[in-house]
Symmetry: C2
Subunit: 315 residues, 2 copies
DNA sequence: CAAACTTATACTCTGGATGAGCATATCCCC
DNA sequence: GGGGATATGCTCATCCAGAGTATAAGTTTG
């Protein structure tokens, strides 16, 4: 914020870019929206702040998402502002990134928007069917090479970092540390945006995006997973009514982890975030499930009590 | 981020402002640095991004802090980007706010920098000597008036929000919810920046700052208190060596809460964040205290294990 | 139609972390 | 050397998260 009207040397007016990481859950798959930025190169929906119409940053993002996707966004949250001069070719571009949550629905438009599984971008993040193949197959060997070529003094530090980041050794996998993991893989040149190292495994892990967009997506997934535990954000990707099993399914999809069913129910119940509707879902294939509704009043009670999952507890 | 070089209609170039909330601890008082922006009006150190010298946003803040205060900053963290068009008089100003931590030392300069107690700005946030006077004296009565004039449907919602935000009724005081509290007080017109309501208490609670700077400071304190629990940030305001009591004192100052001494030690010990130096502080006035040093290696182990205070546990 | 299976829901047990108190050690000051 | 103050070590109760077991209420199948 300027100390005065800053009349003199025109201090660095910068273009204000906006990026949106739009996330939804389709069945059991968490998805994010990409657009075609070049032929055969996808990236996040992006645009610029337009001073003539956007009163706030969030309104700018809202306009941008509307234009590129037409999706009705149910939740916005500012993620981070990127301002490195060398971040994009051609000089400074300041970009404010937002996380947006929507209920899943189809999209089409001239920018070729499409839904991508989050785990297409981050194949090592989905532990619902046990340790992901990408971990054992690519990450662990690469980590071992990285440890092998460490300076003697660095070794224990590298080792500890690797174990904590990827939950190896004694450490437990922490679903939230998405960005840490992406950045370590970037250092290891295991993801496509980083130029592959000689003799490294060919194409790189996961689907690359333009520029640093996959990094931004990692930050978004990290933020979302973190928030699941202490803010009621899941409900923004769910329909009006849902069974508790569906709620758990969606949380598991986003967290990339299976949860203990009974304990999940206990927590949801004690958090007082949902109320029964009296209706029942008959299409379960077993005993019908009661349908619940999010008690949206809790959003007014500002310190929203959260889902109760204090730590995303895995099995 | 631009889809192309954006040559055409010059999409909304904005001035990029920078704000810094510089925090340290002086004895048992957490302090933040203000500068004189107008005669008799203090605010946060602010400036603009300078494209010719600042390669990154953080470098811009570093330069700004250096110019206005000369303080050596030990930790930077981006807080939030404010972009409302009507935020400051005279059109859009985009401002990126940063939290900065320094070891305490004197400052002087032409902008009249001075250290202010955080609790001069937020008198209701310091619970170390029991419930703060400002709570009982001003906040609670104002909350009761606010509840009294609620619509019938709103009452329970308002009540729940008031209780959760300020730890009244069954709810416990949560040291982290600094911003929630400030914003509620702003709505109640209890803080000086908001125009006083008719019949409201005169001057408003706490020291006001320019524009929305006190709100930014609240966001900073909230972030810092939150981080105390899971990232080793306290050490950035402490000297190289310190006793465990001093460490606890500083945490208590920032958290605005007294902690159980024995449990604090247990946690610090198990978190493995500090190591004994073998030296002893003789000036304790009692049994000498062993001096410890932060194991700075843990910062390399990226998912920094945190202080162990999973919740800032009060008595 | 009954057995087998699937899914939902309820209750119990256990280990660990957290909150709180008691006890001891080592200094200073009088 | 006793009292006060601070540091440090240990124990106990409580709560909660993780994990297991049991029951209810449907669908599918022989």
């Amino acid at each position: 914020m300027p100390s005065g009207p800053a009349a003199h040397a025109d201090p660095a007016r910068a273009e204000v870019g906006l990026n949106a990481v739009i996330i939804s859950v389709d069945g059991t798959t968490p998805k994010l929206l990409t657009v075609e930025r070049q032929p055969h190169e996808d990236g996040l929906p992006s645009g610029h702040l337009d001073d003539t119409v956007d009163r706030t940053l969030e309104q700018g993002v809202r306009r941008l998402v509307g234009r590129e996707t037409g999706l009705p966004v149910r939740y916005f949250e500012q993620l981070y502002t990127f301002g490195d001069r060398n971040r994009v070719p051609g000089g400074r571009s300041l970009a404010v990134a937002y996380l947006a949550l929507v209920r899943h629905q189809g999209v089409q438009g001239e920018a070729n928007p499409s839904w991508r599984s989050c785990y297409e971008l981050f194949p090592w993040e989905d532990w619902r069917d046990g340790p992901p193949a990408a971990l054992e197959g690519s990450v662990v060997p690469a980590l071992e090479r990285w440890l092998a070529c460490a300076q003697p003094g660095e070794l224990s530090t590298r080792q500890e970092r690797a174990e904590l980041t990827f939950g190896l050794g004694h450490a437990r996998w922490d679903p939230v540390r998405v960005l840490d993991r992406y950045e370590l893989l970037y250092e290891l040149r295991l993801v496509g945006e980083a130029a592959p190292v000689d003799g490294g495994p060919g194409p790189g892990l996961g689907l690359p995006l333009s520029l640093d967009h996959r990094r931004i997506a990692a930050a978004a997934l990290e933020r979302l997973r973190g928030k699941l535990a202490y803010r009621p954000v899941v409900f923004e990707v769910l329909p009006e009514t849902f069974s508790l099993s569906r709620l758990q399914q969606v949380v598991e999809a986003l967290a990339g982890q299976v949860l203990h069913k009974q304990n999940f129910r206990r927590l949801v119940g004690s958090a007082n975030l949902v109320e029964p509707t009296g209706e029942w879902d008959q299409r379960t294939g077993g005993r019908p499930a009661e349908l619940y509704r999010f008690r949206r009043e809790v959003l007014r009670e500002r310190p929203a009590p959260g889902l109760g999952l204090r730590r995303l507890g895995g099995p």
